[in-house]
């Protein structure tokens, strides 16, 4: 649920200047393990009206979780100011929106909020069950959960043949779910023949994947803080891999690329040595 600041028919704490004398804030943190997604919320509410209604059970705090990717939408209601929501990891994928509210759990007649805007002086409202009476700042998270976890670095790349004829240098495109590596038709045919040969996979990695990864690291640097990168699956997977290997502070891109690929030059030379020895 995408929330925008709006005019409610009654004063809502935390919305615009409806109740300038009170605040409703929530910190939302998300963590994930193999089985579950955990959403930890801490609520700070300075409205005596809202807190009082929650205390006597006529209202509740609610964490609303929505994931369009998996058609998931649910509200979790509670009375505590700190709450951990646990959701199986099999229920969420990609973008997850989390919003925190206080909502009426029963119809409330003659509702008025202390310290509300002077425009509301002397007014009272009939609140229905479910009506929002306080709203906090929402947060959006990204979760990746699939049949098979993306583990190898090569799986963020897709190697394809160019539709054009003739010899040409390898090209790279970054704007899709995967990094697209485009080879000439002849190069792609040779690549297809060689890629299932375990002995030669190290050579392919060094010849194709290492320069592509190096170019990718420069591309990421060139993008700066561009938020659009976050929408690219290959970027998120690569970032996770960099963090998992403790390479976030490695400034030398050639070093970083080689460490990500587990020293491909060493593997290539070792393979070449074996091939040379078996041929002699």
């Amino acid at each position: 649920m995408r929330l925008s600041r709006r005019s409610y028919p009654h004063p809502v704490v935390g919305n615009l200047d409806d109740v300038p004398g009170a605040a409703f804030q929530a910190t939302i943190e998300m963590s994930v393990d193999q089985d579950n997604v955990y959403i930890d919320t801490n609520i700070q509410c300075s409205s005596t009206t809202v807190c009082g209604l929650v205390d006597d059970g006529r209202a509740a705090y609610a964490v609303h979780v929505e994931c369009t990717n998996t058609i998931f939408r649910r509200a979790y209601e509670f009375a505590e100011t700190s709450k951990r929501i646990t959701i199986p990891v099999s229920q969420l994928n990609d973008t997850v929106e989390v919003n925190v509210f206080a909502v009426a759990m029963h119809d409330i007649s003659s509702y008025a909020v202390e310290k509300s805007h002077p425009d509301y002086d002397g007014s009272s409202f009939d609140i229905r069950k479910g009506d929002i009476i306080a709203v906090g700042e929402g947060k959006t998270f990204t979760i990746e959960s699939r049949f098979d976890a993306l583990s190898r670095i090569g799986s963020i790349m897709l190697i394809e043949a160019s539709p054009d004829d003739g010899d040409m240098p390898m090209r790279i495109e970054f704007n899709g779910e995967k990094i697209r590596v485009i080879l000439s038709k002849a190069d792609f045919s040779a690549y297809k023949l060689l890629r299932h040969n375990e002995e030669l996979s190290g050579i392919l990695t060094t010849t194709i994947v290492l320069p592509v990864l190096l170019e990718t690291l420069y591309y990421i640097e060139g993008c700066g803080d561009d938020d659009e990168l976050d929408s690219l699956k290959w970027y998120r997977a690569l970032t996770r891999r960099i963090e998992a290997l403790g390479l976030s502070n490695e400034s030398e891109k050639l070093t970083k690329a080689q460490k990500l690929l587990e020293l491909p030059v060493k593997r290539t030379l070792s393979t070449a040595q074996s091939v040379a020895e078996s041929a002699s």
């Binding site: 609303h64 058609i71 990609d94 009506d131 049949f147 995967k178």
Partner: protein
Amino acid sequence: MKPLNILKENFAIKLAGSISDNLTRYKRDKPWLAEFAGSSSWDFETGLVPAEALALAMPDGDNLKDLENAIRMHSALPSLTPVQARDPRLWTHLTHVELWEYMRRRWPVEKHLSNKQRARNIIESRYFVARNESRALLRNGAARLWWLAKLSHDETRDNPYELTGILLSTLDITQQILERSLGRAPAIVHGFLEFLQINPELLGGGNVSRERIRQLAKFLNLNGGVCLLDCLSDTNVIAMLQGEYDQMRAQGGASASA
């Protein structure tokens, strides 16, 4: 029962990018993915084992058999998790291999081939999961059956698929309810469908019924701006809709104030 296979991701991307080249293949009687893949490996076995055979009833003229097939699909894959059930590799495999014959009968491409762009759009939306959003799942020929049953399934009823029958009684209900954000909330969907069951005249088709359903969905959506509908029970949702509908009828038109 044999475990399900799904497409390899690279192959799924390649297949989706080759719709124009493969247009005539979508007229074939038999699946052709192995031929298209050539010597490349294109799918792999998952740990997903169907609870029963994935056999769909063939559409017969105007009888599309959507309800029967939604039940069959959901019964065959009852424990599919939402993350698995949104994976394009699964549904693209099913539409191109296991359910090929059904897809050819239900979504034949022949009648659109005179307009190649239209044919491409039909293939993209019915044989693939085109975009990373819920609407695309409700368009794919196989995924839609599973999701429609899943979103309306109610284990507490004597017939757990009773509401699925209402959902599939007219196409307009699916669009008005499920293609809005409120369609992701089970209590809201169940409440809306049960409300329609209580007021069966709304299911009779015709412009007035269609417009009333549209106005009621809009009314609920507007209320969602001030009320956290997810905190309501299906009984609350029914009461809200009934109040609005009674007002609508009293005014003798399709709409009443929201």
